[in-house]
Amino acid sequence: MAKIVEEMKEGTGQKKLVTIYLDGREVKVPEGVSILEACNMEGIKIPTLCYFEGLTPWGGCRICMVEVEGQPNLVASCVTDVREGMKIKTSSKKVREARKTNLELLLSNHPLDCQLCDRNGSCELQDLSYQFGVREIRFPGEKKTYEVDRSSPSIKRDANRCILCGRCIRACQEIQAVFAIDFANRGFDSLVSPSLGLPLGESVCVNCGQCILACPTGALSEVSHVEMVWEALEDPEKFVILQTAPAIRVSIGEPFGLPPGTVTTGKMVAAFRRLGFDRVFDTNFAADLTIIEEGTEFINRLQKGGKLPLITSCSPGWIKFMEHFYPELMENVSTCKSPQQMFGAVAKTYYAQKLGIDPQDMVVVSIMPCTAKKFECQREEMKSSGCQDVDYSLTTREAARMLKEKGIDLREMPEEEFDDPLGISTGAAAVFGATGGVMEAALRSVYEIVSGKTLESLDFYDVRGMEGVKEATVNIDGLEVGVAVAHSLGNARKILDQIKEGNSKYHFIEIMACPGGCIGGGGQPIPTDLDIRMKRIEAIYQVDKNLSLRKSHENPAIKQLYEEFLGEPNGEKAHQLLHTHYLPREKM
């Protein structure tokens, strides 16, 4: 929010200002902003439920009501624009009573068992109830009795906890353009539902989890792997290996009260070691491996006239989206598995052999900023080692909860290093966590491998940042290579449609399902907003800058892996373990 406000204020130079009176105070705000936005600019935080930054205001919850002089009724501040001379009361008795009553009506059919809810402690309905001083239920109403939808491998849906604010729907439609869910039925039977009332697991839902980030209550949450991981950690027969995604080190501090954008790599490693993992490894190792495989694939396609543009395949939400909506572009998508899956395949073959452990006795756990990773690790194609390559995938939220359950305070941890050899990585892998990162990492390696020259600057600023679609041209050994980066599937559609229409000017495209890339993934700490996303991105580039090795092809552990085990990049063994295929899915 703060960022948006800043941008708006910066933009006020060109914009006409109007004078309004907020609780009697004269202020000037840009024309065309809503009362809610104007209040935010002036430091007044109007309580909201259905309003969500970045989504179209809806005015459905009636919590953000304010009094406007001359208007007979209270108005919803999120959908009412300011007008010259408007006199607004933001917290008169009438306003406060209306807000509280509306909240109480929302509570009338809401389960009152906060202790049992996934969002206990991070629920906006709970927070508002506290702030508004709701201490009794004045309107005990009929409760909903829906069965909890556990059909999806990633997302649990409890319609009983839903307040019908529609934020999940708007996230799914406006940010992701997936349209997996919408309102169904009417009145008391109103419900957020996939098409045909199907369970979420049978719908076009791509498991990105942006709906979870948008949900103010516990109606949407991840399918938890926490209990399974505890069990594996307790089992003396199991050798339990952890991999942590690039985005975790810049976000897991948040649930422990550290400011967004704090880099906690060393503390995080120490904390998870204390949780009982036999090895704490790094998905970044596999990210470097991905760059070698995908970079080689790109060079081959470029030099041998293969299908272009090549599109990255690290984001399982994007992959399922492609399978549903763009199956005709399947051959454009890299056959490389994602880093999570490459890690699992290497851990249960190469590393298991190194240690002389039966892969059946090895449990690979990942901590991901992602809910789609839970789906990905259960895909049929992800069993190259002979068993499921990655057993369990925890979100950042689940991982933080486990640490807290064990009584580990991340802030108090010493700085420790990842284990060898699957914990060795470069800055190129680190930037995977941010939108544009895979592209930047790939360019660093592809450029040097193809041209044989050393890059003067490793920083490809054109592909960084929060712009929806970014593009750049890189001269690699005389060839102008066009690249594009899209984050969020709504943005992805724009460049995918160009390919479909045959007028794409790109050779290489990175697509990440979530806004901001993995740092803004559906498994990240709540809240995750634009401001927080940008701070996490800054932290990601800070991690990169502080590493001595910043190119994937210089990772010594990767070189060793090829020498000892894999052979050539894109070779037979690499193909068998590190590459995959896709399947078209129904568009319904």
Binding site: F179, I181, A184, S195, S203
Partner: protein
């Protein structure tokens, strides 16, 4: 519900309304008229044809009480349950119908003839309590009158 002929008919219905600004509702209404309900695969087909996400089509199909997503009987009886009908005895109307037809609200009689439903205001409050059987509206309902009306359809 499959079969080429069916989809040809649906194409025809879609073609008739495609130029309208918001064709979806008219199309669903006409499909409903023709088959008395909106089968799931037909909704999917309409969604693809109009390029409207199927979750949205489902939202529309389930919002209006006159659109049905489950097979209904030959005659759909809709009892108005809004305030004016309520105070004039719509509860008794519903009870009488349940007794006469041997089905509860939301059910279809075993012979497939009658489906019993409640609905929002039919706009004939002057003759409350009221009900509709398919397209025909009946007002001033009493137990005897309901029996007489049902006899017309049996």
């Amino acid at each position: 519900m499959t079969g080429l002929a069916v989809y040809e008919e649906i194409d025809e219905i879609i073609g008739k309304h495609q130029e309208e600004k918001t064709p979806l509702l008219s199309i669903l209404q006409e499909i409903q008229e023709r088959w008395r309900y909106l089968p799931g695969d037909v909704l999917g087909y309409v969604s693809r044809k109009l390029d409207i996400p199927s979750s949205m089509v489902w939202g529309v199909a389930t919002f209006y009480s006159f659109l049905k997503t489950e097979p209904a009987g030959e005659y759909v009886i809709r009892v108005c349950c809004n305030a004016p009908c309520h105070v004039n005895g719509s509860v008794d109307v519903l009870k009488t119908l349940q007794k006469e037809l041997g089905i509860k609200e939301g059910e279809t009689s075993r012979d497939g003839k009658f489906t019993l439903e409640t609905t929002s205001c039919l706009g004939v409050c002057g003759v409350a309590p009221a009900m509709m059987i398919n397209d025909v509206t009946y007002g001033n309902l009493s137990e005897d009158r309901i029996r007489e009306i049902l006899a017309l359809y049996r």
